[in-house]
Symmetry: D4
Subunit: 243 residues, 8 copies
């Protein structure tokens, strides 16, 4: 096969906060996801939230790999917790959409790459859980919501083991950070590949299920960061190689 | 073929106006387009702006019909005018993307449905021109920017001739209105099918090229308006019938 | 009969413009209407917009008089015009509600008092029409949108004839002013009782139909203005007297 | 009796926060209360805040049941506490109005349904007290101010005993949550029917006094939630049945 | 007499536009008036708006001279015109206060100095009139609302005749400009002393009544402008000299 | 003497927070102070901040009593503390002005009435100190910043002893509350007359120095509260009586 | 000489519009000027506004060329006009600073490059004049204030003659547009080199005085536009060549 | 040498937070730095951030002394810490620029004066570290972010030892305060010269390296504060004296 792999990107919704179109739903995904796929060997295809079985089957048929994108907090009911006061906006319809896509990709033996919310959703989908807010861990942690220049690396990730990430990065890389929730119980079958210095889990892999996932936002960094570009390249090349 | 037709929807970009993500590009299209396709017989597939020939070829291969969505003003240079002070934001990259999609659909003999900006772009693509702002026509016109409740019908469209619209609606329908530019010279090959009482062109068809287009926003009305729903149904059913 | 007359007041809707309750509908009417009725001899009963025939019948059964309150522009389609660019927000559901109330009151021979929008709606309901924006009359008019201190009188009304208003005020009163549309064709059966110096119609009466209506906002002025208080007193006393 | 029961809904006040009408009082109640009554078997009648004995007598004469609606915090002086720094806006005039309505309904043997503030007011009116802010209970509670999509269920209520709620729901229902104060001492005569998992009291009943009350907002959920619709249906049907 | 003259300064009112103190009245006058008096030979005494005859008598007894300060537009009814749509906020209570002060100063043979609104009020008080907005004179005028750096001179005033201003300035001075209304008919007894190049009247004097008045804001300029300082000095010295 | 006493009111400064006049100083005092004096037997005279010895001497010569008004926090250096992070805006120039006025009134044997900041300034002027923020006392206090309807009483003051306040109120009154700092060490010579239930000092008197002072804002309440009106009446009548 | 030429860039001032630093002056120049010089062969040196003769002499001694940057409108008094109502903010101190720099460069025989305001200032400095607002020329002009994406070309410039611009561009280039004033009378000695299609002068040169100037903003375009980069390159290379 | 010393001032960047120029980089430095140099014996030269070795060499060649100005937090990675959640915006490009300037000045034996961020950067550059937020030291500290009137002194600095500061000030001076980070480990070779009463280090000197630095903002105070003026004077005079 000589065409580029088609990479589906799960979409979200946003709305204006005021004016005549306040609350009017707009299907969207940050353009960086699309750019990151198109510049690193794939064809980006954005997948809008829907419930039609025929659509969902069709979407997962035509794509060769799936990126689960960032955004809303996962509904804590999905990991058997009540909603903590610091949990932000949830979006149950999106949770379901993402989980159905994930399940169908697994059934069809196609690889999945989770980013931020995608990373958290994958963990929850397979039985893991989340810390609903970093402050629940006490105050001795580093800054995980950088709140400036989204492409700027602000912390180091330390990798270990033999996995997708140590193959790619060796022992470390520097990344951005934009999250307030973190992994608590890691879902069965997943290897913890990377952590920040304060112990936050930042990268996991499940080789059998053909899933990788990261807590940071490589799609924001790929504009000028080789390490971030290589993450997309390797994910896409593995598809071509039939990995 | 018994699967539902796949309808590509051209996407746009938006950005936050302030905060840390001000100007950060987000690929989007109003969810109403997706809903209108999914609820009326099609499978919606959103197509993000890109320039890669392989992507563009792929997108137009997998879709059975194309909706060119609303939004930015067309760059007046495309109809050989300088930019008028009242022309709003233009987006040359999007103009090119939409025109390439349109050209490829034509080559592949697949139908196209233009909405608002899509309606204007089709006219310009085939040699027509636009009035850059309604006020250039003098002050004796009705309200074409309703600025409230996007689904509310605010004016009547009068149809004539034998075409897609008179087949569907007979002599008239009531629609919403959200535009400040209007068609001036109509591109060769297109039939003017509908106008408002102040003479503004609201619906055109080119049967040979398999294109219909409307100035209003049926996707906003289809939430509760039969006439708007039927417009999508007929466009999609025609694909199934091989029209 | 020794109980106070019950005066129904037609309600409107408003919404927050931003935040989590943006667009959330709240049934409301300015408290000044309620205060003006309660302080001048009546029992105020606020009537929320609805379509149920049983509700509408019930509402008009229990009230002795009706005040049609101020607010939205009337849908110009109701007087056979297209919407002018300067017409503001319209609210067709409210137009219908108000007209049904008006019709039922007429059938039940009970008096009606229109204020601002209510004044305009009454004129349209019986076949009259409106100027969609004062500027359509040219620029030689006085200020009709005072935009400060809602209770402050800003212009004089000159009355003539023998009617409710000349009985009450003689030749003149001073009033506030908060409108951008004015009466054009006066509905059959109505007497023009008062005008401002620039000719704008400010007060009408139809003795047979038992209707009075004013363009200004006496309910805002009644907080400290005798003339405004007396307008409510006289309307309510007439009910007691069986006028 | 074959007409629908008339359900009074206690109103509140709101104001613009800026502009020429800042602080101008508008009598209002969320339209969802009206819709919930009208769609589930009743005739909604909105009752504006007032002090006139004749009005209050009249209002409670014409209605068959009363809904005490949500909104302001109760003045803590009413349960013999000073105002805590986290107590929000209070509205003593409204407290009095609601309490008089409640008392008159009790005297006239007509049923009352309290929602959120209404739930809290009923408890206080009969001698109960409130926790002035959830944080006073420590930090181990779930999210009770959901701050997004007002109709979305965010927590479970567990019911027990034999009462209105277990008849209706059996052991549980899922509800929204919009409050920062909770019941402390429950007023004599009331049965605690439902609680959330963190022990917050969410539903009470006093069969003798013919009162039910809930901490959540069923009127916001009834747009698309059967359980919420049934709550209104059962309250209204009981009136018809003379319960 | 060896004490400094006491100069009364008429005060105005302002309010917050939002927040909990929106519309809360605050008595104020720009500190520049006070500074200009105190730095140029006088003792500033600010006079709050009131209606008590005893207060008004007392205020005009203790002061040796009066400055009528800038601000609101004069109520056009005071010069027998209806309110023009471009007239800004009026403040009838302040108009009355200023006029009573002016009348009492005249009776007590004490000098008055009008600034901007004070200049316009003096003209109206003695029978003159105003152009309600500069645009009523057509578009061929210079900028009279400078809208930046309030102390910056933006136009020249040309003086002529033998009066307070030619004594002080000779033929010209350069001043700031902050007004949208201008003198139309000049009140009897006043000499037009200065104009801008587009003919707008900027300075008047009535020697018999002991009144000077200017359209510009010397109190804003006196922070660093000799000409503006001298205007206050001369007004105050004349009092000492018994002029 | 049969004229009303003249009551000086110390002024403050405020500024716009944006626009062309941002930071432009405006001398002001809330009109409620003026109204409270004028309606309760005095002639209000507002005293603008200045440093000229002649002005200060003049001001304290012509007034019969002084009200030190509310506003800025006192510079903690005046009671030998460094500035705490929760201390708000300070205004050293105003501190000096107020203290000079206070000192001159004392020398001239004229009575002084301190309100809120005035209450705190008096305590500091005579050697007392302040708690820089209520939170420094721990969290067990009631709400002292009511943040709604400035005239609404929100807590009780308990009085004891034989002093101005027990003469006026007996054992208690209900007041509003708008402060975040409270008295710590009370200056020598002052009697603590009233406290709230959480022990905050709310009223002091020094009979020898002829000073009373309160922590609340009676001038805001006097619009409709007898107790507040009587506070001004008694202060002013005492002057007439030569108390 | 083998070091890069040093290019002085005249600075401006800006301020925050609100907050504690509102109006606080910050010396600034858009970084694009600096980047455009540094990337195209020069060393950028920013010159802050000042009046010291020694500074000004020093600045013009150490630089090899000067760029007069964009920003404020020129004070119309400099070309003997009064200020038109549509003239925006002026900054006389900056006018003087720029003119002194210009004069000293001329005396020292060093080249000057004017951009936008710099272009207008040069024209005025040598006796030319400006149209104070484009609308004064009637409405038949194209859009000269693009108000989106500052680097996007929006109109064509047509060049003629033999000069710096025709050497560089031949007959045309496409540029951005960000101005509301235009050249009226061209100063003696300057050749008009380029115009837009509506006749607006966009480029001038005076070979003897060694000055070029353009109405558009090449420094904004040089981020990705060859033509804009070449404009800086040629200006800087000419210095090296001793042109 | 009889010319004034040339003092380089390191620049920063700022951007609009919304509108069409949101995020557009503007090179800037507060004008107070420039004014403080120009008024106290130097010639101010502003140095824009760049990376070109030739520029950096040139800048440090032409200046006689360097002021490292205030602003962004230092990247904690430079003192081997991860970023604390309360660290504000960092600007790595600026850190590098400032450090290169500092290093080159040292090599060229020219004096450096660090202010606020400059003070912190110097400490870090030579091996010291910072407390990332004052709150990390507990709550017992005074106000170090004054947040009003930037020139107002708010705390005392106590000096000791024999150094630049005790020579200038003796034992103390009063300064403003605008920082949230403070020195932790002081870099080798630096003497701690001054502290506030809560122990925060406010002034350091390294005589060998010819560096002084202060935590406060003397450039803001120099507008009217002798002590602040003298700090600049002494720094500049020392250059003339060859200190």
């Amino acid at each position: 096969m000589n065409k580029k792999p088609v990479i589906g990107i799960s979409m979200s919704m946003l709305s204006d906060t005021n004016g005549v179109f306040a609350k009017y739903p707009r299907a969207y995904v940050n353009d960086d996801y699309i750019r990151s796929v198109n510049e690193n060997g794939g064809i980006a295809l954005t997948l809008p939230i829907c419930e039609d079985e025929e659509n969902l089957e069709y979407y997962t048929d035509i794509i060769d790999g799936l990126i689960l994108s960032g955004g809303h907090d996962i509904n804590p009911h999905l990991y058997s917790e009540e909603i903590h006061p610091k949990t932000g906006d949830i979006f149950p319809r999106r949770d379901t959409f993402d989980m159905v896509l994930l399940k169908k990709m697994l059934e069809k033996n196609k690889p999945v790459f989770g980013i931020c919310r995608g990373f958290q959703l994958i963990n929850v989908a397979f039985g893991g859980s989340l810390v609903q807010d970093l402050d629940e861990l006490g105050k001795n942690h580093i800054k995980h919501w950088q709140d400036q220049d989204c492409a700027m690396p602000v912390h180091k990730i330390n990798f270990k083991g033999e996995n997708f990430f140590t193959e790619l990065y060796g022992k470390e890389t520097f990344t951005n950070s934009w999250h307030h929730q973190v992994l608590k119980d890691v879902a069965e079958g997943f290897e913890v590949c990377g952590r920040t210095s304060d112990g936050v889990i930042e990268a996991i892999e499940d080789k059998k299920r053909n899933i990788i996932a990261v807590q940071w936002h490589p799609e924001m960094m790929s504009i000028n960061d080789k390490d971030a570009q290589n993450l997309f390249k390797k994910f896409i090349q593995n598809i071509n190689k039939g990995v």
